[in-house]
């Protein structure tokens, strides 16, 4: 018997006399309480709680804010489909990991923001780049539109396509492995700027 058939047979045997289980209750899906400015304010507060920075600006101000946030950065990689021009930005061009390691910063858009948890989600389509782009460089500037911010995890999961790879980002890379004391910056970008566009 193959391992597959053996394991499946053991599973069937193990639960053969187990009682049926009722449908999971879904009453945790309460209606979102926050909307409008309150929702955005919570998003900003919670992202900043992770020691990321948030800048709120208008669509027209994005190029100027990008320039400001990238001031002094030598090399910045810009994914295909990123809607704004970044002076001096380099295209991805399938850079190797080692090549990306020499890049200082990355700019991306994002798919969803979650106010309750202070999270931005990248699903790595146009403007967001493949997963390595927002991982290896030490500075990540992530642009999100106000209408992409939802109240909670329930809403976000419902909007995302599981067949796309995703990276849920809540603040910069961090560890609490030493005496449970939180340190920002281990392997991912040590600095995260979120640009909230209204």
């Amino acid at each position: 018997m193959s391992a597959r058939d053996d394991i499946l047979a053991r599973v069937r045997e193990a639960v053969s006399d187990a009682p049926e289980v009722a449908e999971p209750p879904r009453d945790y899906r309460r209606a979102p309480e926050l909307a409008g400015e309150d929702l955005l304010a919570q998003f900003v507060e919670r992202v900043e709680d992770y020691r990321a920075t948030v800048t709120r600006c208008t669509e027209a101000e994005v190029p100027r804010e990008l320039e400001r946030l990238l001031d002094g950065v030598l090399r910045v990689v810009v994914p295909d489909g990123f809607p704004w021009s970044v002076p001096g930005g380099e295209p991805d061009n399938a850079k190797s990991a080692a090549e990306l390691n020499d890049v200082d910063a990355v700019v991306t858009t994002s798919s969803v923001g979650i106010a309750e948890t202070g999270t931005v989600v990248l699903s790595h389509g146009p403007g967001q780049g493949r997963r390595a782009l927002s991982l290896v460089p030490d500075l990540h500037v992530c642009v999100i539109h106000a209408d992409q911010v939802v109240a909670g995890v329930n809403e976000a999961v419902g909007m995302l396509d599981p067949l796309q790879p995703q990276t849920w980002i809540s603040g910069p890379s961090a560890t609490s492995d030493i005496e449970l004391s939180r340190v920002e910056g281990v392997h991912g970008p040590r600095t995260l700027h979120v640009l909230l566009v209204e």
Partner: protein
């Protein structure tokens, strides 16, 4: 570097030794206290926490009831998205599969995402025997690996170490396996994390193969999920060409939508954050993004044994958050090593006997007794595993496994007590004997008294009396039992 739990003594003895480690006691009290407070604060923020717990438990129960269907669906979905699916009955089969993939690509090193399943099967040691180095990349796992140490916590495997111990480990061991620690190196956690960043960056950029576990596997889509903080997981899941994920069969959830429950329960219960810094999801091989060869090993290794246990199968709901460890008063004092397994604490005390079976070895049989049954673990568990009830059930299984042979002194005592206490006449007789002893002891001169009642200090006889009195006084039995008082005074009506 191949420290192992094999040959660990039974819990009481291992705990006795651990309790003597004052540095560890201090580190653990500080760390578990810190994380308990963090967890309590972020759980209190969520109004519908109990509804989420109920949903999480129910989703897992329903999945386990039809686990065969969900596993077949998961396999099909993964294959459709270009992943290769393997099945492993036990640790040896699983390690063999991973080693075969490594050999097929002619690699002599792999980078690893922290994974309980690969620790459970002893993958690093198995790969080492094949001449393949497995580099742990989670900071705490790195500390454990470099220190030739054993993990003592599910989430924070080096929780028993403090910053100065970690600095010493980094200074002495990093250079032997790669980039040495910077010199000088302070014991500031930020500096230590910085040293790990530099040391591991070299390995991430070089590695051609990675090994991970998965926190969740979505049956309907074939999506795997890894929840982490540091970004070492993202490095492993993204940069190498080949990725092998070893996934326990209980990690399945039926639908993508089900993740909404667990992505709320897990981070708050685990690190005490609203959300962990990074969650990665991927479905098979993604063209142009990340590893182009993706393997998934579906692991049994005792899970179907646990699944067959009517009371114990709820342990397979476990999402490895480690909240039960952090609230456990036993764990806080003994630390994780005393449990002799990669699964320590309350969940380990039930999971190990369920995976391995009772009545097989003394160490495993000692685990269900490694609890005062205080219930703090059940209260904290995000998927409502009734750990105290499972512990009691497993104690019954341990006792039953030893029925038939020469009875242990404890069994003789329990049977004797059961015989006395199942009859009020016998109980009364034994109480009168105790009361007589109490009167005699009270009459002895000297000694110490509380009120007019004598207390006994150390009792130099083997057995329960000695174990009790090593550090605790005990009052002598009352000179008259309640039942005798009641009958003598007509329930106190005739007190004079």
């Amino acid at each position: 570097m191949s420290a192992t739990f094999v040959g660990m003594p039974a819990f009481p003895e291992a705990a006795r030794r651990a309790l003597e480690n004052t540095q560890q006691r201090h580190n653990l009290a500080h760390a578990t206290g810190t994380i308990r407070d963090k967890r309590a604060a972020v759980v209190a923020e969520v109004d519908d926490w109990e509804a989420l717990r109920l949903a999480g438990a129910a989703i897992k129960d329903q999945t386990l009831r039809h686990l065969d269907d969900h596993l077949v669906a998961l396999e099909a979905a993964l294959q459709e998205r270009g992943a290769t699916v393997h099945w492993a009955r036990d640790a040896e089969e699983a390690c063999r599969i991973v080693a075969d993939v490594a050999r097929a690509h002619d690699v002599d090193e792999v980078v690893k995402v922290k994974s309980m399943a690969t620790q459970e099967i002893g993958l690093n040691e198995a790969l080492e025997a094949e001449g393949i180095s497995a580099w742990e990349t989670d900071l705490a796992e790195l500390i454990v690996q470099l220190g030739d140490d054993l993990p003592s916590h599910i989430l924070v495997p080096a929780i028993h170490r403090n910053r100065s111990e970690i600095r010493e480990i980094f200074r002495s061991a990093m250079g032997e396996v790669g980039r040495p620690a910077p010199d000088p190196l302070s014991d500031d956690p930020a500096d230590l994390a910085g040293a790990a960043r530099l040391h591991l960056r070299e390995k991430f950029l070089r590695a051609r193969m990675a090994v991970s576990g998965a926190n969740f596997a979505v049956a309907e889509t074939g999506t795997l999920v890894v929840v982490e903080s540091e970004g070492n997981g993202r490095m492993c899941l993204t940069l190498p060409e080949v990725l092998v994920s070893v996934v326990g069969i209980e990690k399945v959830v039926p639908t993508w939508q089900d993740l909404e429950v667990f992505l709320q329960l897990l981070p708050r219960s685990s690190t005490g954050e609203r959300m962990n810094p990074y969650t990665s999801t991927w479905t098979g091989a993604v063209p142009g993004d990340g590893p182009q060869e993706v393997h998934v090993v579906l692991l049994d290794n005792g899970r179907t044994r646990a699944l067959a246990d009517e009371m114990g199968r709820q342990a397979l709901r476990c999402i490895r958050c480690s909240a039960c460890l952090n609230v456990c008063p036993v764990y806080e004092r003994t630390g994780g090593h005393a449990y002799g397994s990669v699964y320590p604490g309350p969940i380990g005390a039930i999971l190990n006997p369920l995976l391995k079976g009772t009545g097989v070895d003394e160490q495993t049989d000692s685990l269900p007794y490694a609890s005062s049954l205080c219930g703090a673990c059940f209260e904290a568990c995000p998927v409502r595993i009734d750990i105290p009830s499972v512990l009691v059930e497993l104690r019954g299984q341990v006792v039953d496994a030893h029925r038939g042979g020469v009875p242990k002194p404890e069994a003789v005592a329990m049977r004797g007590a059961g015989w006395v206490l199942s009859s009020s006449a016998r109980t009364a007789r034994s109480e009168r004997a105790a009361a007589f002893a109490g009167r005699l002891l009270n009459r002895l001169p000297g000694g110490r008294r509380q009120g007019d009642r004598r207390v006994l200090g150390s009792i130099p006889m083997p057995g329960a009396g000695s174990a009790w009195s090593q550090a605790r006084d005990v009052p002598v039995p009352a000179t008259e039992s309640f039942r005798d008082w009641w009958s003598r005074t007509d329930g106190g009506e005739d007190e004079s």
